[in-house]
């Protein structure tokens, strides 16, 4: 395509050259002077630029429906007059009255040839290229969504206020924006936009909503406001994670969600991450199995969150103390919930699930894939590497210790043999 444009450019600029050359020829051959017009009949000087461009850039109706003439390879109309000034050309000649004043100071200017400007053509080409380059909408890294300037993953602000009530502290994230095509008898194929968004204040209050409209912004607005109307409250355990692990499913989508320690982060599907951020959950791991249908995923996750039980409820159900062990507290047994009455060991049936995780996961088990050794570990060079670097394994610590003791990397021998240091320096 690019070559095509170049040739076109050459051809367009050629007629002027022809004319110039002809002039020169005419002036040289003074004897054979004739006034008959030269019939240069081709469509370049017969048709206006607009029509010429149309012939190159137009796409048939059927092609346009298929999406031809769009995107990166599309030919764009270029204004070849841009950057060109009357009186200034390839040969740099001063024309008094056209490209320069007739009288400068007290001197009468004469037509003269100036030295050539080598960058003129480059500048022209640059100006022409700037017209055809396909430029994507640039966003700041903070505003970007999951994929550049596409809307999913981007923030669209809080829902519109209802009467006097404002949604302060809320933020809405787009989860899905897609075109739905419907065939209609009279109109043919029509486009509808559907949007799914999640809104929340990051302090336990969140909701999601759908919106449909003929235009994308309208669909987003509808979805956002509907999400604001369907807020739900979620308990956040210690201000950073969920109450307990859970399994949840919607349709063919299955999600295994795990409670995690502080600082773990959100290790999950990007939509689940957005939802967690809207709610205010900071640490969690979620594994999606089965279908990746986004709407099912969102619904399944919200259902799972809503179906969580409080620790007191769990203790009451089991009629047992619920005790928490943390490694940072040296596994001190901290009772976080006690039931009103506690069962004794004899009262517990033999086949009851007493394992906490198994109980809250509803006896579902997460598939743990076997971890294979890394590909290079079986190779001979890795063994060589290990052997070679074994002697360096404590050097970092020693260096640190030397810095603590002497303020620099040196040993008790440095004072004894100062000449060694000088040599190196």
């Amino acid at each position: 395509m690019a070559t095509k444009i170049l040739t076109l450019g050459n051809i367009l600029s050629r007629p002027i050259n022809f004319l110039l050359k002809q002039n020169n020829v005419n002036s040289n051959l003074k004897t054979n002077f004739s006034t008959t017009t030269v019939a240069c009949v081709n469509f370049f000087n017969k048709l206006p630029a607009e029509k010429l461009w149309k012939s190159v850039t137009s796409v048939s109706n059927a092609g346009a429906k298929k999406g031809r003439g769009k995107g990166a390879g599309r030919i764009r109309i270029r204004d070849l007059n841009r950057g060109q000034v009357i009186g200034v050309g390839k040969v740099n000649i001063l024309w008094p009255g056209l490209s320069a004043p007739v009288i400068r100071g007290r001197e009468l200017l004469r037509q003269q040839r100036l030295p050539e400007d080598p960058e003129r053509l480059e500048k022209l080409i640059k100006i022409r290229d700037s017209m055809i380059k396909f430029r994507r909408l640039k966003l700041s890294p903070i505003e970007r969504g999951w994929s550049g300037s596409k809307l999913p993953g981007r923030s669209i602000g809080p829902p519109d206020k209802i009467g006097e009530d404002e949604f302060t502290g809320f933020d809405t994230k787009v989860l899905q924006l897609r075109a739905l095509l419907i065939m209609k008898g009279s109109l043919g194929r029509t486009r509808n936009y559907q949007a799914m968004v999640v809104t929340g204040n990051g302090q336990g209050l969140a909701g999601f909503g759908f919106g449909k409209a003929k235009e994308a912004p309208a669909a987003l607005r509808k979805a956002k406001n509907r999400a604001g109307q369907k807020l739900m409250h979620f308990e956040i355990y210690n201000g950073h994670t969920i109450n307990h692990d859970f399994y949840t499913a919607f349709g063919k989508t299955k999600i295994f969600v795990q409670k995690k320690n502080e600082g773990y982060g959100l290790v999950c599907h990007r939509a689940i991450k957005e939802i967690c951020q809207a709610i205010g959950i900071k640490d969690l791991r979620a594994k999606v199995e089965g279908s990746n249908n986004l709407q099912h995923l969102v619904k399944a996750f919200f259902i799972g969150l809503l179906q969580q039980k409080t620790h007191q409820q769990l203790a009451e159900e089991k009629k047992l103390h619920l005790v928490e062990y943390k490694s940072e507290n040296a596994y001190f047994p901290k009772v976080i919930a006690s039931p009103s009455e506690v069962r004794t060991k004899e009262q517990i049936p033999k086949d009851e699930t007493l394992d906490f995780t198994q109980y809250v996961m509803n006896d579902k088990v997460i598939l743990k894939k076997k971890k294979f050794p890394r590909f290079y570990e079986s190779m001979p060079h890795y063994k060589i590497f290990l052997r070679k670097y074994e002697k360096y394994r404590n050097h970092e610590k020693i260096r640190l210790n030397l810095k603590v003791e002497y303020g620099e990397v040196k040993s008790f021998l440095t004072d004894k043999y100062p000449e060694k240091n000088e040599q190196e320096a």
């Binding site: 773990y264 040296a330 109980y359």
Partner: protein, 376 residues
Amino acid sequence: MSYLFRKLAQTNPKNRIHDAQIFVISCRKLSIVPSLYDGEQDPAPKFFSSNVQVMLKRLTRPDYNKVFRKRTNQGLTILKTPSYKFLTNEELEVELANAKKKAEKLLQMPPVVKIQKHIDDVLSKDPALIGYDTAKYLFTDITFGVANEHRFIIERDPDGILRSCDHDVRKRLNQTYFPMNGRKLREPLMFTDQEKLYSLLDREKYEFVLDRACVQYEPDEPSYQKITSITYQHIDTLSKYELLRSTRHFGPLVFYLTWHQSIDNLILELLQNSAVRDAVLLTALRQDLHGDVVNGESLPSLVHQVLATPIQLTKPECLTEEDIQLDSKCLKCIEKYIKTNSSMKSQQELALQGFRENYKQLIELSRGLQKAHGKA
């Protein structure tokens, strides 16, 4: 002359810096004079006696939330996900008993012993060996399973004398052959550099200083006792006892203060926090160590009663009749102590008065509550 000097200081930038440094140093609180356990009396038998140990542990007031708190020196680079268990009453009791054992281990007090004596033990004099070499020869028995303090370490001096090594050489060689985790061959700067130690103390990093001193030194070393003494006195002057409560260093702190007859500030703090029972224990400790408390004979029985009650981590909200009886006994005892033995009479009496008024209200409240519940 003074004008001249000033001018000199102005012209020479080096001089000016020097002046500034002098000023900073003079500002520092270098007034603490460490007092060691170097007198005639040996503190070890008193410290290790069972009733003193019990009292010291009780005065530590272990709060499990603080004993099992998150520490930075646990070697955990990242946190782990907590685990959960369903437990019956019996299982929970077993778990709590295990945790108590673990807490006792964490709260084991560093021993308080007399300062070490120099080892000056000539094994043999061999004049034939005089001038055999310019260096000393050191011999260490590195047999596995011998305790560090009983290890055989001797030196042969260039003058032909064979003698047992002194403590500093012994420590060095022991650390070389059997390195102790965390102990350095060279003393850390924070202990040798007075400036650095005081900056740590000013930032109230008492526990860090004491923990590191425990690792670096033996309890009978003069440097250990000097550093702990400075730390304890720093805590005492600022009344920051709360920072050491529920740690293993509180017992030695109390013992140090009692041994050196300076418990008045601690008693004042206890009274201000309405811990009369602990104050009674402290006076009993003084009676145990020095035997100079008035009517000290009645103290052991009272201490026995106090030890039978559970530890009060916070101020009580409701009182039973037995509590009231015990507290009134304690009050009387403390009153007598303040009258006769205390050197901070007015402040302590003021604190006691405040406590009494609060206590009166509390008694009325709890009696009223019991009446309202129809129990009395």
